[in-house]
Symmetry: C2
Subunit: 190 residues, 2 copies
């Protein structure tokens, strides 16, 4: 795989209990170091439109045809607005890779969903979908799911787009922008 | 000068005639390629608080002590909210470099100011302050002013922080974020 591949990373902005919406920020990077584009959309906190907003972001950027994959931070945006990665792949034809730094505690997630959502089973089913892979890095392992490509290909894309630390640059930069515009100064994730 | 210097680039977001405020985005980069922080503040369109907002951004970032220089896109933010670079330098002790891609048309600027502002002379005086240097690049020249360092040092910082094209990365990335969050998708400047 070429080092100059283009990858879109997406993360959401932090929010408080008073907020109804959270921004999601997309960053198109070439080879994990050169930023080509910044995208913004908005999701409803604890709503169910993350999937559609991601599809919209991917399908409408002028960089779509060059995208090799979309890297997503976690499995939901705006709290428990859970992302249906299969549906994003079906609607965009771009492979989707989700990355989390910590191993998800599914029992804890289930309890939180049961407590707050009538449709908790649907949300939980989405979260549980697909195989979770522990991927070794130079530091701690990260936890990865992928749709539309093999885990071998996903690992290669993660390797190419990670410069320092364990988080791929498109996600790290999207996180910085999302937290910076929301709080005035970004906080780290490296 | 080391290649790993930290520089803050600042640019403002595009706005329409209905807007009263414009976001300014700051990006701290190491060596022109690694983003360390994203900052946001807001200025009044055609107001007079750009200087104070820049001082605030510089003095309050946790990266201040590492900053070698601040690169600013142009001489005003939010329309004609003119930046007093001498005052920023006096209030922060960080050298300031302003960069414009096109040679400023001072006669046109003067006419626009005269037409719209009672205090046009003050704003115009600020814009005219300092020596404007034409700096050669591999492509077209850029136009540079600097406070708190020599033009030789400013040129070196611009060279270190420019990766592709003629615009230093901290300004290019700040511009992308500012336009991306304002319009949903950034437009180019390279």
């Amino acid at each position: 795989m070429k080092n100059e591949i283009r990858v879109l990373g997406i993360d959401d902005s932090p929010f408080t209990f008073n907020d109804k919406f959270s921004d999601i920020i997309g960053v198109v990077m070439r080879g994990g170091s050169y930023i080509e584009c910044v995208l913004k959309n908005t999701v409803e906190i604890d709503g169910d439109n993350s999937t559609d907003k991601c599809v919209d972001m991917i399908n409408h950027t002028r960089h779509k045809l060059q995208l090799k994959a979309v890297l997503i931070d976690g499995v939901s945006f705006g709290g428990f607005n859970v992302i249906d990665t299969e549906k994003i792949y079906d609607s965009t034809c771009i492979p989707i890779i989700t990355v989390t730094r910590d191993k998800p505690d599914f029992e804890k997630i289930k309890m939180a969903l049961e407590k707050h959502f009538k449709d908790w089973e649907e949300r939980y089913k989405l979260i549980m979908e697909g195989d979770l892979h522990e991927v070794k890095t130079v530091h701690n392992p990260i936890y990865v799911k992928c749709v539309g490509m093999t885990i071998k290909e996903a690992k290669e894309i993660i390797k190419i787009s990670t410069i320092r630390g364990v988080i791929p640059e498109p996600i790290r930069v999207a996180h910085m922008i999302a937290s910076g515009i929301s709080r005035g100064e970004s906080y780290g994730k490296a």
